[in-house]
């Protein structure tokens, strides 16, 4: 059995306390790091639904949060690329964080992507960010008609749908992980009052 000195234990517990304080200060309501499977997605849905019942006041905003969470989790499970670090292989893994500000709910995700994808992801998001409601609707309809479901089950609709449902621009950032990989962070903002 490993022996920990009191100093080590206190150090670790202090770290947990700092972590807790950080979560409180950013009003982090939910955070998950790991492999995103369909089971995990379903677990989050029941959790989100239970919370929705508790707080009637913002039902429509919470419904959008729920919607955005599902699409974000499915993006990770379908599109996260393998990421090797030490002995760990990150495939279909990522982070999901739901947090609050005074006037919005934030759903932020992060997952590894190969650098070759950065350009197309950037172009896609910039394009839908620059569109108004009508053009977004047209794009969504066109994608539904023409885009066939890929073998991974995606129809290229998730990001357009998040942009439409939230009415806000998607924010993103790529953080380099290695020569060939970056960590793709995506933030969706859901206004508390529509």
């Amino acid at each position: 059995m490993p022996y920990h000195t009191q100093k080590q234990t206190t150090g670790f517990l202090e770290y947990v306390f700092d972590f807790y304080k950080l979560m409180k200060s950013h009003e982090v309501k939910l955070v998950y790091e790991g492999k995103v499977t369909h089971q995990i997605t379903k677990a989050f849905i029941s959790l989100a639904e239970a919370q929705m019942e508790e707080n009637q006041e913002t039902v429509s905003a919470q419904r959008i949060v729920f919607h955005v969470m599902v699409e974000c989790l499915q993006n990770i499970s379908r599109h996260a690329d393998d990421y090797e670090s030490g002995n760990y292989l990150y495939s279909g893994r990522g982070i999901l964080m739901v947090s609050n500000t005074i006037d919005a709910f934030l759903v932020t995700t992060g997952n590894a992507v190969i650098n070759q994808k950065i350009k197309s992801i950037t172009e896609m998001i910039d394009r839908i960010n620059g569109m108004d409601d009508l053009r977004l609707k047209e794009l969504y309809m066109r994608q539904m008609r023409e885009g066939c479901l890929s073998d991974k089950g995606g129809a290229g609709l998730g990001l357009i749908d998040i942009r439409r449902k939230t009415g806000n621009k998607l924010e993103y950032h790529f953080h380099p992980l290695s020569k060939s990989l970056s960590f793709f962070l995506l933030k969706a903002t859901i206004n508390r009052t529509k």
Binding site: I45, S46, R63, K137, M141, M144, R145, L149, G153, L157
Partner: protein
């Protein structure tokens, strides 16, 4: 024609297609792990039905939630209906939505714009 009945689960809708009892309904929540596998029997049943349908079909969508992958399949279903109407069949889609759920109403209205199929929006 043999009825098609699929029980609802926490991620897939209930499906009841029953010609004898004049019941055509998809209800609940739709975010199955594999959309193609789940909807394959649904689409093939409807394809077969469309070749020899009842004089009038009323089809109910009573969904509370569907993900974007499912939204594409819903359009595939409506496209089968559109072809039935082109062939001179009578068909009505009733799109049910919870009265406070504007997004679900909007989704129905958008489908109604996309296909030449009569829609009736019903709040509950």
């Amino acid at each position: 024609m043999e009825p098609l009945r699929i029980d609802r689960t926490d991620d897939s809708p209930q499906v009841i297609f029953d010609v004898e009892n004049d019941l055509f309904e998809i209800s609940g929540r739709s975010l199955p792990e594999d959309v193609n596998t789940f909807y394959e029997p649904v689409l093939s049943w409807l394809e077969e039905y469309s070749r020899n349908p009842a004089p009038k079909t009323t089809f109910d969508f009573r969904l509370t939630y569907f993900n974007t992958a499912s939204s594409k399949v819903i359009l595939d279903i409506l496209t089968i209906f559109e072809e039935m109407i082109e062939d001179g069949q009578e068909l009505l889609v009733r799109w049910f939505y919870p009265k406070e759920d504007e997004d679900m109403l909007e989704a129905g209205e958008e489908y109604a714009e996309m296909v030449e199929v009569p829609f009736e929006m019903v709040s509950y």
